[in-house]
């Protein structure tokens, strides 16, 4: 049994805003951002946040595996709850048992890479850890960050077993170079001068961490096949020069198709790189921000068994491009569109009712009648099919593929991204549920269409600053070619 990375996953939301739309909308005020108006950035749908994106990355990572998870870590600078276990919600959505140790990691963009360093230094551990990283950072209109950031999540499963990659060496350097920061009571990041950050930060702190990691691994930098070092394009080039390695060894930072996903980005780029890596590759992963983390991995022959339907590639392929800047602002809660009286509905959650049925809601657990075999949601005391009482055993429907039985595109009901699409979905073994759909554009749903389930925000309670989650049908993922 070797300790190492057992699996990986990534997630990028389907909505993609063309950067030129940002430049067109705010270029009058900030002409300098026009130079950044290339490609597109990933935008979380209104019903996505760092929790839901982490769930999706985790599902990508865990697909097809049967291993036990002992420890769940969720790294993010944008956890939706400051006090409510965010990782606990993720654990319930993933149907992990109650005794899984859940941990929220926050406060720095390096939250995930620092966790990776810690796990790498404890490489004899018997525990399996699901390390998730997810970020959904808001940006000021007209800011460089609005152009550069994207939303996304990634996952790495570490533990004893037959790893796809082992950790060869790690390093962590702390330097309080405040390249950017977000105060606890602020919505946006405050970024300092880019040239200073490049010269004093990327080109001094990062190389120091990398050299330490290489030393720990007992290798020369020249032996490294890939550098997972998400940084602005010019910075990467200068770094390659500083490290005396080929710039072509730097993994695609997903700038053109996604944007910088904050705490998730090193793992997201790593997941993307692992999907096409070959056995025996030495990969360097770096996290930067008030210091740097560096981790050197080496892939094994086991890697091929997990490729290629893992990592962000399939999600990157599933695009819903848009150019409407006011729609972007509204989705990000920065433009208060008058959605009318229906948007005033009070979405107070009865927490005692939720607690009683939390597995039904967060885990989409229905009931299977042990008498007639019918699956039903929600579970009930009396079987809908055979009438037997107290025969239902909990069984989740979250992993099932459904089929649309009926649907509508409702322009009257309130939703932050009209129309409100919902309908009846049928599943195997007699189950049928009426559900709200997500990630579908008008005209895309039809009777008979197969759908998969995704974990999303169902409603916001704006008066009490709460959000509740449930599962929604979404388009099937296309397989990577």
């Amino acid at each position: 049994m070797n300790y190492g990375i057992l699996s990986f996953g990534g997630y990028v939301p389907t909505l993609r805003l063309a950067r030129e739309a940002i430049a067109e909308a705010v270029g009058w005020a900030v002409p300098s951002i026009k130079g950044l108006a290339k490609g597109e950035r990933a935008v979380a749908n209104w019903d996505e946040d760092s929790i839901t994106m982490a769930v999706e990355a985790a599902r990508d990572c865990l697909q097809g595996l049967t291993c036990q998870v002992d420890h769940l870590q969720l790294a993010s600078t944008t956890l939706p709850f400051s006090d409510r276990s965010n990782s606990g919600v993720v654990a319930d959505a993933l149907l992990l048992p109650e005794d899984v140790a859940t941990e929220d990691l926050a406060g720095t963009r390096r939250a995930a890479t620092s966790a990776l360093v810690r796990l790498g230094r404890n490489a004899n551990a018997a525990q399996t850890t699901l390390l998730l990283a997810s970020d959904c950072r808001e940006t000021k209109p007209g800011s460089t960050q609005e152009m550069q950031y994207g939303h996304g999540a990634a996952a790495v499963l570490l533990g004893p077993g037959d790893p796809i990659a082992v950790i060869r060496g790690t390093a962590s350097v702390h330097q309080d170079l405040v390249d950017q920061y977000r105060a606890a009571d602020s919505d946006f990041d405050y970024a300092l001068e880019e040239r200073w950050v490049r010269e004093e930060g990327y080109l001094k702190i990062v190389p120091a961490a990398i050299r330490k990691a290489a030393q720990a691994a007992g290798i020369d930098l020249g032996e490294i096949h890939r550098f997972v070092l998400p940084a602005p394009a010019g910075v990467a080039k200068a770094l390659a020069k500083e490290l005396k390695v080929g710039a072509e060894l730097f993994a695609d930072p997903l700038t053109a198709v996604c944007g910088d996903t904050g705490a998730a980005h090193p793992l997201l780029v790593l997941a993307h790189a692992l999907a096409t890596a070959v056995p025996g590759e030495k990969i360097l992963v770096v996290g930067f921000g008030q210091g740097a983390d560096a981790v050197i991995l080496e892939t094994t022959a086991r890697l091929a068994a997990l490729q290629p339907q893992r990592g962000p590639a399939r999600y990157l392929q599933q695009r819903r491009p848009f150019k409407n800047y006011t729609m972007f602002l509204s989705l990000r809660n920065q433009l208060d569109i008058d959605f009318g009286l229906r948007a005033e509905r009070d979405n107070r959650t009865s927490q005692s009712a939720f607690y009683r049925r939390r597995r039904d809601i967060t885990g989409m657990a229905g009931g299977r009648c042990s008498s007639c075999g019918t699956l039903q949601f929600p579970s009930s005391l009396v079987c809908v099919k055979c009438g037997a009482t107290d025969t239902q055993e909990a069984e989740s429907l979250s992993g099932l593929i459904g089929r649309v039985k009926s649907y509508t595109e409702d322009w009257l009901a309130y939703t932050p991204l009209p129309p409100y699409i919902y309908g009846h979905v049928e599943y195997q073994d007699g189950a049928n549920i009426m559900l709200e759909f997500t990630d579908f554009a008008p005209g895309q749903v039809g009777v008979g269409l197969p759908v998969r389930m995704v974990f999303r925000i169902k409603d916001f309670d704006t008066r009490r600053h709460f959000r509740r989650y449930f599962w929604k049908p979404a388009p099937l993922l296309s397989e990577t070619p």
């Binding site: 929600p378 595109e409 409702d410 322009w411 009846h424 007699g430 009777v447 509740r468």
Partner: protein, 400 residues
């Protein structure tokens, strides 16, 4: 062995307020408006009413909970009043309570009142409401048009009909109801429309456009009922009698199993079967003279024609095209304009339908009077196609 209520109870007086956006009226005024007409019509003294049933759906936003809205509005002499609520079948449920009390011999004269004051809620359609603390956690925040629109998607898929063709049949339904409503002085919407206007109306919930949706109205309707024997004693010759009132609520099959394909109204089929048995109807298409069905949306009326056994399965579109349900057709439907144009004050609607049957059977329907109708059917669907309470009632004439 119980024999049901067929021919046991007579309606001796009915009233119906003008429906519409009654900005000038609260629930009290609507109740009194309907009651005055019914009391005058019956010729009895108000103190002869021994029990009452009040149908009201949106209690908080409309008139308030319990017996009180009715008892207070009419200053009733402390007689028992029961407030009932079964969503859009509420009016019929109120009538059922009064009719059952008379049939059971608990009283001689009972009042059924249905009322709804919707236009104080601030909404153009029906107001938003909670579905209960658990259902709010997972059920979509569906609107009524969105819930019923799904009937159309499933019906079109099942019968392999292009949506354009289905939409055209739905447009015919709306045109017909507007034509009928134009003849009704109490109706909310009294303007004729064309098929093209219906087809080109703004989309509300695909594939339902604005002209596929019924009016959201204020109104009240009521009935005074007594036993056939008592009516005879009162000297009434031709009396309108209740032949059946049946109710069928969903039990979860539609929403929680794959046994329902989403294209029809399961509970309406059950309620119709029972009502026909109670009323002694074996060939509904031949025996029923006229109908007021729950046309909350055009597609509802379309599928209901099949659910009631008037049209064969998959045959409603052809019947609609053939004008079977038009004023001059074989089984005229929504002669008063229906929910579509008379309007839909939820708690009053079932009684409004009975009111039209009552007028038609007695030959008192004025400009819209049909020729010698003998059997009238009313139908309500409370809730949504996948979770609802259906009612089917049959009314007829009986000579003393």
């Amino acid at each position: 062995m119980a024999k049901g209520i067929r021919d046991k109870v007579a309606i001796i007086g009915m009233g119906c307020s003008r429906f519409g956006e009654r900005w000038d009226c609260g629930p009290e005024e609507l109740i009194v408006e309907a009651f005055k007409e019914a009391l005058t019509d019956s010729g009895i003294d108000r103190n002869e009413i021994e029990m009452a049933w009040l149908g009201l759906f949106y209690q908080e936003q409309s008139a308030g909970k319990s017996a009180l809205p009715l008892s207070l509005a009419l200053r009733l002499p402390n007689i028992p009043v029961t407030r009932v609520e079964n969503m859009c079948a509420t009016g019929t449920e109120a009538l059922r309570g009064a009719v059952y009390a008379v049939a059971a011999g608990a009283c001689d004269v009972a009042l059924a009142m249905g009322v709804e004051k919707l236009k104080d809620t601030g909404y153009a359609g029906l107001p938003e409401r909670t579905k209960g603390s658990f259902d709010d956690l997972w059920l979509p925040n569906a609107t009524a048009p969105g819930a019923f629109a799904q009937l159309a998607s499933a019906y079109a898929a099942k019968h392999k009909i292009p949506m354009d063709e289905l939409k055209r049949a739905m447009a015919h339904i709306s045109v017909k109801s507007h034509t009928n409503g134009a003849l009704n002085p109490k109706a909310h919407l009294r303007k004729r429309i064309t098929e093209e206007e219906a087809l080109q109306a703004a989309m509300v919930a695909y594939p339902l456009g604005l002209m596929d949706c019924c009016g959201v109205s204020d109104g009240a309707a009521c009935a005074i009922v007594t036993s056939v024997e008592k009516a005879r004693e009162m000297g009434i010759k031709d009396m309108v009698v209740v032949k059946a009132i049946q109710l069928a609520p969903s039990n979860g099959v539609e929403m929680s199993s794959t046994d329902w394909d989403g294209s029809y109204l399961l509970t309406t089929r059950v309620a119709a079967k029972r009502a026909y048995a109670e009323a002694g109807i074996t060939k509904p298409r031949e025996e029923i003279s006229m109908m007021e069905v729950h046309d909350c949306f055009s597609i509802t009326e379309l599928v209901v024609m099949e659910d009631l056994g008037i049209s064969p399965e998959g045959g409603a579109i052809q019947d609609i095209r053939d004008g079977v349900f038009d004023r001059d057709g074989k089984v005229p439907c929504q002669i008063d304009g229906g929910l579509k144009c008379f309007g839909h004050p939820i708690g009053a609607s079932g009684l409004r339908m009975a009111y039209e049957m009552y007028l038609q059977l007695l030959g008192r329907a004025g400009d819209r009077q049909l020729k010698n109708p003998t059997i009238g059917l009313t139908h309500n669907l409370g809730g949504h196609p996948f979770r609802n309470v259906a009612s089917v009632s049959v009314f007829g004439l009986r000579s003393a």
